[in-house]
Amino acid sequence: MIEARDLSKRYGDKLAVDDVSFTVRPGVVTGFLGPNGAGKSTTMRMIMGLDRPTAGTVTVNGRPYAQHRAPLAEVGALLEAKAVHPGRTARQHLQTLAATHGIPDTRVDEVIDLTGLTAVARKRVGGFSLGMGQRLGIAVALLGDPRTLILDEPVNGLDPEGVLWVRNLARYLAEQGRTVFLSSHLMSEVALTADHVIVIGKGRILADTPVQELLDGASRRRVRVRTPQGTDLTEALRREGAEVQVSDDGALDVAGLDAPRVGELAARAAVVLHELTPVSSTLEDAYMALTAESVEYHAEDVPAVPATTSQGAER
């Protein structure tokens, strides 16, 4: 169980996390979704007591992280894949952390086996691929058999088999009654893994909802209609319970009715149609719509002519 109350973090004059409150419950996988720079990692670092909140509080299993006597038994975290000295072997890295909690080497070897690192456990981490580093980070998170798991972008750099493994592992841990909080900037990833999702953008919570609800909202079909008799059609459609909006180019955006039904209603009202297009919105569309206003780094429109100046290089 993770509870954040009015949590804020300011770096200089930049508000990275802005008065955020949420609860992550045990027994389900909770996704933490947002574009890069939205404040996901900062929030997770505050949960782990690594960054000090500018305002607000966050507790894990009822207490601030630092007040737990055996913190690794409460929370296991994968914060960055490479929070490791490259000169140590994977096993040595795990042993240094295990030693702080008196965790025996047998458990170290267990998490090594569990994360599939057996073959490379005695190799230096410096030579690890991104995916192996990620597995080591997950091994660290599992080391203390914690009740709560915090995984920041766990599938980054994993091969398809690894991605599937992380998904199953997250679900499996949640089924055991643990709290699993997993961040991603990919809606599709969260949709596949999580039961509940908290969407963050520019440091604010944009949605805190079961994934199914977000899916339902996204899969609801819309229809684009173009007609010279907009007012008449709108009236007819609204009488049938549809939501109608006039988009910028003058077309009508109809939600709640499918295209054949819109056509029938138009015919009955003797309205001429110039266009009738079913528009299916994807999950990514829903996510984009939710976060469009809050994307931290907008890509500049790429100029049609190859630019000779360095204008595209600035971030």
């Binding site: 960054d51 690794l72 000169g87 140590r88 952390l97 030693a99 702080t100 008196g102 267990e110 569990l114």
Partner: protein
Amino acid sequence: MTATTSTTGAPPSGTAVHRVTFWRVLRAEWIKFRTLRSTVWTAVVTAVVMVGFALMMAAVMRASTENPEMQEGMAQDPGLQAMGMTGTTVITLGYSFGQLAIAVLAALVVTNEYSTGMVRSTFAAVPHRLPALWAKLVVIVVATVVIISLALGVAYLVTMPLLDDAGLAVDLSEPDQVRALLGCVLYLATVAAFSLAVGTLMRHTAGAIFTLVALFFVLPIIFSIVVSATDAAWTDQVNKLLPSVAGERIIATGPTPDTLLEPWTGYGVLAAYTVVLLVGAAVAIRRRDA
């Protein structure tokens, strides 16, 4: 990734996880210290070079007994006189190199965690942070004491025949020589603590090493030139209060010149700097984001 992965391997119930204690953190820091090749190599090289310096100096001293000109030149060197010229001076001579190696080693103990990101793993396991800092302090100070004691012991044994020939045998019944020998260990252990604090405050490897080399190597050289070139009193004042110039008085066996501090006073100055820096490091490590 050739390894097979399993999702069915349930975390065993009853994994032994205990609460964090200082001793456990100390054990963790010791594992960290001994599992890095760079630390082990630096320690070995430091000891070897200290023994080498002692051997070289002993050979020079022995050669000088057969060469009156050389003897006269050394008798007139003010630097050598302030150091004193006893058997202890010879076997501790390598401290000037040793202090740089120890300073870099101690700073790296902290800065390598910041440069690699390891510090986040450390602080996640030890969220109170201070036990980790004190455990690092204990590890680097004890390691320094062991390395330097061993180096001095070996230097004592291998230079014994040469120094006997030169009439400069280490005399352990002489309080000044015993003080200088133990002082060498104490001085370098204090340099280690000083450097750990600087590393913790600066967090960046390059910045910390630059600062330490400037403090322990470059400034003393500059000041020794300035002091002999001018009569300005402030240069003497600053010079004798430099961390290394003050602290290394504990290793000297000669009479104390007017321009320098008494051995224990000098060491006290270095120790005071070290305590202040450690307090600053403790405050900083608690307050800053990792």
